[in-house]
């Protein structure tokens, strides 16, 4: 019983240690003192960036899919022999 109590208290103390971290609060989302890319968002250009990165990712994916298709073809040609 004592053992479990010690364990329990250890866990509690762990939690206390965790509390020492700097928590992120609601004010961290709403403050205006820290510079963020607000201009970029106001001008709407951030969506262009999302588009560009999206296109690059789509390109890589299409390339991977086509590579896989080619390999599937070769696999089939080998098993038919």
């Amino acid at each position: 019983m004592k053992k479990y109590l010690v364990l329990f208290l250890l866990f509690v103390s762990l939690h206390v240690v965790a509390q020492e971290k700097i928590p992120v609060t609601e004010s961290d989302y709403s403050n205006n003192s820290v510079d963020m890319a607000d201009k970029m968002r106001e001008d709407g250009k951030i969506y262009v960036l999302v588009g560009i990165i999206g296109i690059i990712f789509a390109g890589i994916t299409v390339y991977l899919v086509s590579t896989e298709r080619k390999i599937t073809k070769i696999e089939k040609s080998i098993t038919q022999k």
């Binding site: 020492e20 971290k21 700097i22 928590p23 992120v24 961290d28 989302y29 709403s30 403050n31 205006n32 003192s33 820290v34 510079d35 963020m36 890319a37 951030i46 969506y47 960036l49 999302v50 990165i53 999206g54 990712f57 994916t61 991977l64 899919v65 590579t67 896989e68 298709r69 390999i71 599937t72 070769i74 696999e75 080998i78 022999k81």
Partner: protein, 224 residues
């Protein structure tokens, strides 16, 4: 394409990561500013790397138990994909560090340890390529792979925590660990880990199939 649902899932999760990761509200924190979004791209590289290395170790063990080269194919290609993620992780980390810590390389324990870890895996590739016998290469490679993983984990997760490190959550540095707990970031962070890992697994499986086709062709060449 057989059993492609998880590939579609990977692409969907990553498209979500890119859009939500760039657009969603993030905590406005000094020094980090918008770079906090690198959490969904830089940090996930390392998570993906570790997960793929775990898969690789699993197949190395299976190879040692069965001597079946098909398991060795999986082990080496998952390691290859993991190394790709690791290299991307270390370069993106350097770029991020330049603008938040002030230098590309500040000799941070975690930076150094991950560099050593990557070198260990480069050595794995060199070791494999220096052996010509297939079974010998697979066997020695599998054993090296298991030991490398066993050294890699304490190297990047334990040792940096014992000293002072700029990396969050290390050496009494609270930094990012608090932000990790932020539920809004988590909503992108966890799907991003799954997405990147599945994408890496996809690359690995395509290369495994390439390897197997090559072996069949070589066998035909020898037998003909």
């Amino acid at each position: 394409m057989r059993q492609s649902w998880w590939k579609i899932l990977a692409v969907a999760l990553l498209l979500y990561t890119i859009t939500a990761g760039l657009l969603m509200d993030v905590p406005r924190l000094p020094i980090l500013n918008e770079t906090i979004r690198a959490l969904h791209f830089h940090v996930t590289m390392w998570f993906g790397m570790i997960l793929m290395l775990m898969v690789s170790v699993y197949y190395s063990v299976r190879y040692l138990r069965s001597n079946d080269l098909r398991f060795d194919d999986l082990a080496i290609e998952f390691t290859n994909a993991a190394i790709l993620f690791g290299v991307l992780g270390i370069t993106t980390g350097m770029l991020w560090a330049k603008f938040t810590w002030g230098d590309y390389w500040s000799g941070d324990p975690k930076q150094n340890a991950s560099a050593i870890g990557l070198l260990m895996y480069f050595a794995y590739l060199i070791l494999r390529n220096s052996l010509t016998d297939m079974q010998q290469r697979a066997r020695i490679g599998a054993i090296y792979n298991i030991f490398a993983f066993a050294a890699f984990i304490p190297l990047i997760f334990v040792l940096p925590r014992l000293t002072d490190s700029l990396h969050p959550g290390n050496g009494g540095n609270p930094g990012f660990n608090a932000y990790d707990l932020d539920s809004k970031l988590r909503m992108v962070f966890y799907p991003a880990i799954i997405g990147w890992t599945l994408f890496g697994a996809w690359i690995a499986t395509v290369r495994v199939r390439m390897r197997r086709v090559q072996r069949v062709l070589e066998d035909q060449l020898i037998n003909s």
